[in-house]
């Protein structure tokens, strides 16, 4: 793509994204630099270029020149020069390699700017200009065309479900025409952590829920969102929605995934153009609800546990206490790490970063924060409720030869179900 065209596409995409909220944010930054103090990438490198709001510099520049109240003056007097393709190229690394859209910066900003949301928006323009890490582009295309970013196509998924049902002697309904609950999975689980698929089935059956998987809508991850391809994002989201409508589901359950929650729970209705005709829950929320109602019969997990908060589920998504309620139901000794809940540190692999191998070295540096946090609690096992975090922890564990393994909340629940074999 010629450079001029790249810039034009980026600018047009930026303009499409600017709205009142983004404009308020762009106008509000006072260059205090405090957002850097919240960002794990800055924390471990002390490199000022990782300052969160700096990641938005070309976006801000474009806003002031193309869309802000004084845009006409900025253009006439060239007070903000046109964004160049070189600048956008430079910024690619900042927007994709060193941002997990974790939102810690948004929590810090004294002006209340949601910097993370702006990064997501900026990615649209970068995608339009073709300036995104190759892996992200590739997996998005795969997801769009094949139905899964990691090759878990409907055929592969169907086959897996069959042998998982067989191997683990668990019933897994597929493509029911009428179900109360539509369950979804992430490709990470389907391909790497299939025990999570089994766990989901076990729990649903234990609860006696009328549930199903649908081959026309099972992939909860949304690389369109992560890469900045809004068309793909919408396409992937609509698949899930249409599948839910097709089986008249009252609830759609999202798996242990972070951005999947953001994509459907908070962005889904806006993609759909109307309120969703069903409830959306993260699996942890669902489990907490069941535990509260006394329907989840669990054996005690007699261990000391610390919980890693997946950013999109907890800080950004609002399901802060749900995982803890489930841990309580499991009877663990919960030792919160510091900081925890909303201010917990990101695993470093979200937002597409773990798929972007150019960012590996940087990500490993940030992983040290998590290792230290967990070791400081002295807990026997860390638990989380996001497969991408889990994947990041596994990769970090291998890299540092760490002797601590991350566990899945979902799998722990399934492993501790009290089954009455009557």
């Amino acid at each position: 793509m010629p450079d001029a065209e790249r810039v034009e596409r980026a600018m047009k995409s930026f303009v499409k994204d600017f709205g009142r909220t983004a404009a308020i944010y762009m106008e509000s930054c006072i260059h205090c630099g405090m957002c850097a103090e919240a960002c794990h990438f800055y924390e471990v490198t002390q490199d000022p270029k990782y300052t969160p709001i700096w990641k938005l510099e070309p976006f801000k520049q474009a806003y002031k020149r193309e869309y802000g109240p004084f845009a006409v003056v900025y253009r006439a007097l060239n007070l903000k020069p046109k964004v160049t393709v070189e600048r956008l190229q430079q910024w690619q690394q900042l927007i994709y390699d060193s941002c997990t859209v974790c939102g810690r910066c948004s929590l810090m900003c004294p002006m209340g700017i949601d910097i993370a949301a702006l990064v997501s928006q900026a990615r649209h323009g970068m995608y339009a200009a073709g300036l995104i890490p190759h892996e992200l582009w590739a997996v998005t295309e795969r997801a769009r065309l094949e139905g899964s970013p990691l090759g878990a196509t409907p055929k592969v998924f169907k086959d897996r479900l069959e042998w998982l049902a067989d191997d683990h002697e668990v019933e897994i309904p597929v493509d029911k025409g009428d179900a109360d609950v539509l369950c979804t999975m992430s490709s990470i689980e389907i391909m790497k952590y299939p025990d999570s698929v089994v766990a989901t089935a076990r729990i649903m059956n234990h609860l006696g829920v009328n549930w199903t998987f649908r081959l026309d809508g099972y992939e909860a991850t949304n690389f369109g969102l992560l890469a900045g391809n809004s068309a793909a994002q919408k396409q992937l989201t609509l698949k899930l929605i249409e599948a839910a409508v097709s089986c008249r589901a009252k609830t759609v359950i999202l798996p242990e995934c972070g951005h999947a929650y953001t994509a459907l729970r908070w962005m889904g209705a806006n993609m759909y153009g109307e309120p969703l005709p069903f409830k959306v829950q993260h699996i942890a929320e669902f489990l907490a609800e069941q535990a509260r109602a006394g329907r989840l019969k669990l054996k005690k997990l007699d261990k000391s546990v610390t919980f890693h908060d997946p950013c999109q589920v907890v800080r950004r998504g609002g399901a802060i206490e749900a995982p803890r309620e489930v841990l309580k139901a499991l009877g663990v000794e919960l030792r919160e790490m510091y900081p925890t809940r909303g201010t917990n540190w990101c695993c470093g692999g979200g937002g597409g970063v773990v798929a972007n191998h150019r960012a590996d070295e940087l990500r490993y540096k940030t992983f040290k924060i998590k290792m230290e946090q967990i070791e400081d609690t002295g807990a026997e096992m860390p638990v989380t409720t996001c497969a991408n975090c889990r994947q990041t922890f596994d990769d970090g564990q291998a890299h540092f030869k760490w002797d601590v393994k991350m566990h899945s909340l979902l799998e722990l629940v399934a492993d501790h179900l009290v089954e009455d074999d009557a």
Binding site: K12, K16, Y67, P69, A71
Partner: protein
């Protein structure tokens, strides 16, 4: 110039040596000169010839004359007027009409190049008929008199800066002496009216040393106009502590608090009122409970209402603010509309 000396003249009037020396000391100090200079002042004055002084009154109210010549008992200031040969002064002279004019012309001719010219009142530059003396308009009379003067004292704010006649709408086109005369030394003794001792000190210096005192940027003697009223005001501690009278005769006013809120121009007015005071050191406006109106400053009459505090300005009006709101709102709506259109175009394309 009179043939007898100032010393002789004073002695002939029964002024004792002691009184004379007291006058010299007071005047030396008032001029800001070291007290050790008193004997020099006394010696010089003693031997000085009584200089000729011509006083031209233009668009004036005679207030300056009233102030200068007001004698409450035998004041030392009035002595100097006996020491000079005041050859022309409308209020004090006995002669009138042609006789008076002839005296003036003769004095000017006899002392050409050496007489001191005192001017009070402003000079009209509009229709010359606005102010005339014996059929002569002020402007030409001033030019003619200035030609033969050794120096000019512009007495009062009118002569110094244009004063009240020059206030808006300035119907006569009133100007100061300095606006007309450019080639003679001019001392601006401003004030409405000025303080008596200031004029006598200037005259004394001239009579004694033949020089004019050091002047500030506005041509006023630094010795008397070098500090603001504010800096020498006895109510300053109240200003510092933030204790102000809110209205005339209220609690604060009766306690003698600062009059800033009532419009006092003390901070921006340079004069000696706070130290020398008026009526032989009796009092001055602030002490009497009214704020300074800044009468020694140019344009004091047009400097905002006398009762509006200095800190208020001509910030505009409800109308100008309303207009600004209208324009700002229009620009805001326009820029938002433009941005929205750009967005629609970007989405459509």
């Amino acid at each position: 110039m009179s043939s007898i000396t100032v010393g002789d003249f004073l002695r002939s009037r029964g002024v004792t040596r002691r009184d004379f020396l007291r006058f010299c000391t007071a005047t030396t100090v008032a001029l800001g000169l070291p007290a050790t200079m008193t004997p020099r002042v006394a010696a010089a004055l003693e031997q000085a010839r009584r200089p000729s002084v011509i006083w031209l009154p233009f668009q004036e109210c005679t207030g300056c004359t009233e102030s200068i010549t007001r004698a409450h008992g035998a004041t030392l200031e009035s002595l100097i007027f006996e020491a000079i040969s005041l050859d022309y002064q409308h209020t004090l002279q006995a002669a009138a009409g042609d006789a008076a004019e002839r005296v003036r012309e003769q004095a000017m001719k006899d002392n050409w190049g050496r007489y001191l010219l005192i001017v009070d009142g402003s000079i009209p530059t509009g229709n010359p008929g606005y102010s005339t003396i014996a059929g002569h308009d002020n402007l030409s009379m001033l030019r003619e008199a200035a030609d033969g003067a050794a120096a000019i004292v512009a007495l009062g704010s009118c002569a110094a800066f244009g004063g009240i006649p020059g206030a808006q709408p300035d119907p006569t086109g009133a100007v100061s002496v300095a606006d007309v005369i450019k080639d003679k030394p001019i001392v601006n003794v401003s004030g409405c009216p000025p303080i008596p001792v200031v004029i006598t000190a200037v005259l004394t210096q001239y009579v004694t040393f033949g020089t004019l005192p050091e002047l500030d940027a506005l041509g006023r003697p630094k010795a008397f106009y070098g500090q603001t009223i504010h800096d020498r005001c006895y109510r300053r501690p109240f200003y510092e502590r933030g204790q102000f009278a809110d209205s005339f005769d209220d609690e604060g006013a009766r306690l003698g608090w600062c009059l800033y809120k009532l419009g006092c121009r003390g901070p921006t007015t340079y004069n000696a009122c706070a130290t020398v005071k008026w009526n032989n050191g009796t009092s001055f406006p602030i002490e009497a409970g009214h704020g300074c109106i800044g009468c020694a400053e140019p344009g004091f009459w047009d400097n905002g209402g006398f009762y509006r505090p200095l800190s208020t300005g001509n910030w505009g009006s409800a109308r100008t603010v309303g207009a600004a709101i209208g324009v700002g709102a229009a620009l805001g709506v326009a820029s938002a509309a433009l941005a929205r259109k750009r967005q629609r175009d970007a989405e459509g394309a």
